[in-house]
């Protein structure tokens, strides 16, 4: 075992962790907000339902890698995109990767939230109607709080998948953990050690995320635990 090499590799890879975490955090945040919007849109309107189903069909049915390519190489071919105020963002691989990751996770996320919405007991909704709540208030105070609590465990899964999906951002030049590991390997040809180091970094990140999700889940579901009083 060449511990010097391992240590050296580890230090280089750790430099990519902030980017991996940024890509994950930003796209999970945007994606989750979008997922909730899509799931609610699907639940409240018929045209909305068709739109969301088509959206999910497309984004779930094609590889994320291809989606990143499409956005990174494809968008710039349209003049109106190049002339839009968003171009300073969309010309950067960083924002292209975030856009692709967000749109992709929103598709999966909306299905998870949809499951949560379906689990809300009809009686809880009926009581909200009987109390005179408007549809908006009902979603804000009763339906979404119940649905999202139900959806959180499955959503934790999606977050873990997102951490791993950020490794695809390396193909549009982003030097996150995977990108750095490819670079080291092309210099040293020592794939085993480098990938083991990279893998262990992903393991630690995902361990921390699953623990954090479990902690949040515990906090927001006192009503599902045995009596504490």
């Amino acid at each position: 075992m060449d511990f010097d090499f391992l240590g050296d590799t580890m230090m280089k890879l750790l430099a990519g962790v902030p980017l991996t975490l940024q890509l994950t955090a930003i796209s999970v945040a945007i994606g989750a907000a979008l997922a909730i919007l899509l799931a609610v849109l699907r639940a409240v309107s018929r045209p909305g339902e068709y739109f969301v189903r088509f959206y999910v069909f497309c984004l779930r049915g094609t590889p994320l890698l291809l989606q990143i390519f499409l956005i990174y190489y494809g968008l710039g071919q349209f003049a109106f995109v190049r002339e839009s105020i968003l171009w300073p963002f969309l010309r950067q691989p960083y924002w292209c990767a975030i856009l692709a990751l967000s749109l992709n996770t929103a598709a999966y996320g909306s299905e998870i939230v949809r499951g949560g919405l379906q689990s809300v007991p009809a009686g809880a909704i009926e009581a909200a109607r009987a109390a005179g709540m408007s549809k908006l208030l009902m979603y804000r105070r009763i339906i979404l709080p119940l649905a999202l609590r139900q959806a959180l465990p499955a959503y934790g899964n999606e977050m873990v998948i997102m951490v791993k999906s950020t490794s695809l951002a390396s193909i549009v030049t982003l030097m996150e953990v995977s990108g750095i590991s490819y670079a080291i390997i092309s210099e040293t040809y020592r794939a085993l050690e480098v990938f083991l180091c990279a893998g262990s970094i992903y393991l630690v990140i995902n361990f921390l995320i699953t623990r954090a999700v479990a902690a949040v889940e515990y906090r927001i579901t006192p009503h599902l635990r045995p009596v504490s009083t």
């Binding site: 809880a124 009581a127 009987a130 109390a131 005179g132 408007s134 119940l146 009503h223 009596v227 009083t229």
Partner: protein
């Protein structure tokens, strides 16, 4: 003489099944009306039509003299003004057979939810009032408990407290004890009896004939979507005029 609740010629079908065939019923302020009848007679549907939880196909509903405006749209009848319906729902307290408390909120949060967010009253005032109400229904010790940690009887009493917190002009009970274990029925009926004694306007769909005979000022017997018999409880439960009511009451009192 003010009418708290008035329904006129109410009609409702589910598919081909005509559940209400023209029912008219009025409750004066302070009246306690029990609505009895066999399963499928339309009594729950009648109650649910009052706050538009079911939209009637025909007829009118008025709460405290205000008629709920209806309109035709795409060949179906619906309330013309959602804001009016929401406001009127807030003036009625509805108690469900299955309690329907909001599981993610404590008892106190359940009770102040609509007063704070629908009626937009100050939170501190709502909390103080909710504490009093919960004390009154015997849940003063359970403010911070979640519904899942309560017995059925406690949950139903919390649901009654939630309805009372809206300062309703009338209380509507849809078989409030039917989902309870027999030994828990008494505590809920005790609370309802106290409310009746306070002079609250109440419409109660129930199978508890003894209770209904005791607390109601008037009883209504529904059969096949029509009011078959209506009168003081002594008549409806003691000496019914119609044969069907006589048979129904006889079957239930001798259970």
């Amino acid at each position: 003489m003010n009418l708290a609740v008035a329904v006129t010629d109410l009609r409702k079908s589910f598919g081909r099944n005509e559940v209400l065939k023209g029912v008219s019923l009025a409750a004066r302020e302070g009246e306690v009306i029990s609505i009895i009848g066999a399963s499928g007679s339309g009594k729950s549907t009648l109650l649910r039509c009052i706050p538009m939880l079911e939209v009637p196909d025909g007829g009118e509903v008025a709460i405290a003299g205000e008629t709920i405006r209806m309109r035709e749209r795409h060949g179906r009848r619906e309330p013309a003004d959602a804001a009016q319906v929401n406001r009127i729902r807030g003036e009625l307290g509805f108690v469900f057979q299955t309690f329907n408390l909001w599981a993610h909120m404590t008892v106190l949060q359940n009770v102040i939810e609509a007063p704070v967010h629908v009626q937009k009253r100050p939170r501190a005032e709502c909390v103080a009032e909710a504490r009093d109400i919960l004390e009154k229904v015997g849940l003063g010790e359970k403010l911070d408990a979640y519904p899942a940690h309560l017995s059925g009887g406690q949950q139903q009493r919390a649901a009654i407290a939630r309805a009372l917190a809206m300062r309703p002009k009338a209380l509507l009970f849809d078989e409030p004890t039917s989902a309870l274990d027999p030994e828990l029925v008494g505590e809920v009926l005790r609370v309802m009896r106290a409310l009746a004694a306070e002079g609250r306007t109440m419409l109660i769909v129930t199978h508890e004939m003894g209770f209904a005979a005791e607390v109601s000022t008037r009883a209504v017997f529904l059969a096949d979507g029509r009011i078959e018999e209506e009168g003081p409880p002594a008549q409806v439960f003691g000496d019914p005029l119609t044969e069907r009511c006589r048979q129904f009451v006889g079957r239930h009192l001798n259970r």
